[in-house]
Symmetry: C2
Subunit: 227 residues, 2 copies
DNA sequence: GAATAGCGGAACGAACCATTCCGTTCAACT
DNA sequence: AGTTGAACGGAATGGTTCGTTCCGCTATTC
């Protein structure tokens, strides 16, 4: 038992913020953010990146990481849960926006793409053992996305042969689009997103989409750890 | 100089095939094929797979690999050149089929997707230093694909804002689609390919595709070795 | 029956990486 | 001014992975 007193998670979360925040605690708080941001950036670009790359990107030492996260796996889990939360937030925001069914749908998908959330969830899934909390988050996410698509389909804004599970594959395809910089990546993804949207209108359909859509099992398989 | 007498490439290529081919040489010939097939399968699925995985997949020992290829890098180069050749073959076949501009285009893209050629070229590119021969192959491939798209665009079968370089990104997106088996992967890719084709018709366009298409530099960047 | 092409797989050594450990810094408090 | 300890940087550690080499073994071939 080499390290029984390890802090389970970012230890600065509950710190009382006294005014403008300076000194050591301020730096620690800033590091909390910097590390999470760096981890997101690094692991989105390369899910198998070494943890030292995260430290370098964050401009901190490795200790700063291990002070906050018990292990690499915990960091990945945190990141993934964060991604799921963002996904859910995108869905809720779109649903609450009061826009029409089609805009709700496009807003949702666009937001997910911009947040690079898909890479955070699916690409990271399989590199760690999922927590029960993630299952609940997934359930919620699936439920919300289902509502959004059902609405659009009911309004005949989306071709009927586009299944719910096709959304995941659409997102997966877009994460394969990358440019030399994050901004350019975003721009390129919007370019192809526009194409996908064009294809989704009922009038665009020339015949049914061939083959069955992905099954739940096929999508769920991504979550079982690879080794 | 530990191994000055290494055979540069498959040593059985020029063997005079005497009748039904049995014995040691027959097995060697069969191994030539098996190894290339296994390498394709393994590296398409995982470009960073260990060489031992290829041996296992081919059902041979590691020696059998190193007898034919000086190093892993040479094997990858061979595989990539093979992929480019297949790509070129797909383009030539489509052009020679005598079909209309739209069918020529769809035949070409479908064939490339089915041959999984994109994974063989782009996904492998960057894991080894390209040979001059590959540049020539690339030039030829670019030229042919350009002809195919130009023809389709001239016939107004394809929306005018779809640029030549968008083809690469379309293929890239489709290689991100995978199923539990090669057959299912193929089926799923056809599903989304149908969507892409739907979006490519001029009438499907609702507004121009946003942002500039990928530049040649952006696409060429994939070929510089990562490390 | 000897020679050897072809081969399987263990052995080797280098590289990589998660994790630990130790010495340093410096804000906060005495 | 001195002391303390949270926070930290980064070298050291130990384990794993993987490309490559090496050592017999087999079964053709002469």
């Amino acid at each position: 038992m080499p390290n029984p007193s390890k802090v389970p998670n970012p230890p600065h979360a509950g710190v009382a913020r006294t005014g403008p925040l300076s000194g050591r605690k301020a730096q620690a708080n800033r590091n909390d953010e910097a590390i999470l941001r760096a981890a997101r950036e690094v692991f989105v670009a390369d899910p198998s990146a070494p943890i030292s790359a995260v430290a370098k990107e964050a401009g901190v030492g490795i200790s700063a990481l291990y002070r906050r996260y018990e292990s690499k796996e915990v960091l990945l889990q945190t990141l993934c849960a964060d991604g799921l939360a963002r996904y859910i937030a995108c869905a809720e925001a779109a649903l609450d926006s009061g826009a029409g069914p089609w805009e709700t749908f496009t807003d949702f998908v666009t937001a997910v793409v911009d947040a690079d959330v898909h890479a955070l969830t699916v690409n990271l899934a399989g590199t760690f053992t999922p927590t029960p909390a993630m299952f609940e988050q997934t359930t919620r996410a699936v439920d919300l996305a289902g509502q959004i698509l059902d609405r659009a389909r009911a309004a005949e804004a989306v071709r009927p042969d586009f299944a719910f599970t096709d959304i995941a594959m659409l997102l997966e395809q877009l994460t394969a689009v990358t440019g030399p910089s994050p901004e350019r990546t975003r721009e390129l993804r919007h370019r192809y997103l526009a194409m996908h949207f064009d294809a989704l209108h009922p009038e665009a359909a020339r015949g049914e989409m061939p083959g069955p859509p992905p099954s739940d099992e096929e999508l769920g398989a991504r979550w079982i750890p690879r080794g």
